[in-house]
């Protein structure tokens, strides 16, 4: 699209790619997972709170998983400890899944991107 006073503006910007399908797929995922908007209008406070609480718990849960993997990699866990730790985390994941279902929240509703935190641990 040329930018000049003489040419009329086009409705849509140019999109240049050789991999339309791939980008459609990936961008659909992104669009479906924008940061959680927690609406704190009077009517939906409860729902907003549930989302907030579960988001934070989910965040912590993922941190714990990362921590566990770190320690496993570090070699300072016995096979029994690995098994126990794994089982505990498994149960935590399952419990959180239950809670999400109870509140009718899908994974996408609690979108989390550990981003920079991943590098901190």
């Amino acid at each position: 699209m040329e930018l000049s006073p003489n040419k009329p503006p086009t409705a849509e910007p140019e999109i240049d790619t050789s991999h339309v399908e791939e980008f459609v797929e990936q961008l659909s995922c992104v669009t479906n997972s924008l940061p959680p908007r927690i609406n704190i209008d009077a009517q939906s406070v409860e729902e907003g709170l549930a989302k907030l609480v579960l988001t934070l718990i989910e965040f912590i849960r993922r941190l714990l998983e990362k921590q566990a993997v770190r320690r496993m990699e570090g070699g300072d866990l016995s096979p029994e400890q690995i098994e126990e730790l794994g089982l505990a985390l498994m149960k935590l994941e399952a419990k959180l899944q239950e809670l999400k279902e109870q509140f009718g929240l899908a994974d996408e509703d609690l979108n989390l991107d550990l981003g920079p935190v991943g590098r901190l641990i």
Binding site: E12, P13, I15, T17, V20, E21, F23, V24, L27, S28, V30, T31, L34, P35, P36, R37, I38, N39, I40, D41, A42, V45, E46, G48, L49, L52, T55, L56, F59, L112, D113, L114, G115, P116, V117, L120
Partner: protein, 74 residues
């Protein structure tokens, strides 16, 4: 009886649809989560993860109500 040209037409229709989808997705990527936002939102970042609260205008009263809700549930 279908000819090779029918197949080509179908493919290019699909291509056009996908191109249109891509165009829409790119547009959404811009208009949905960027741009000027009038006060009415606060972003609370926990370790660089943004949780966006909308409805800032009634933030204070909503927090009060939230506490009541929690207290009443117990």
């Amino acid at each position: 009886m279908s000819s090779p040209f029918d197949q080509m037409l179908i493919e290019s229709d699909v291509e056009q649809l996908e191109q249109a989808d891509l165009s829409l997705l790119e547009t959404l990527d811009h208009v949905l989560n960027r741009g000027l936002v009038i006060a009415g939102e606060i972003t609370i970042s926990v370790a660089d993860i943004d949780l966006i609260f909308v409805g800032l205008n009634i933030l204070v009263s909503s927090v009060e109500t939230a506490n009541e809700v929690v207290r009443n549930r117990k």
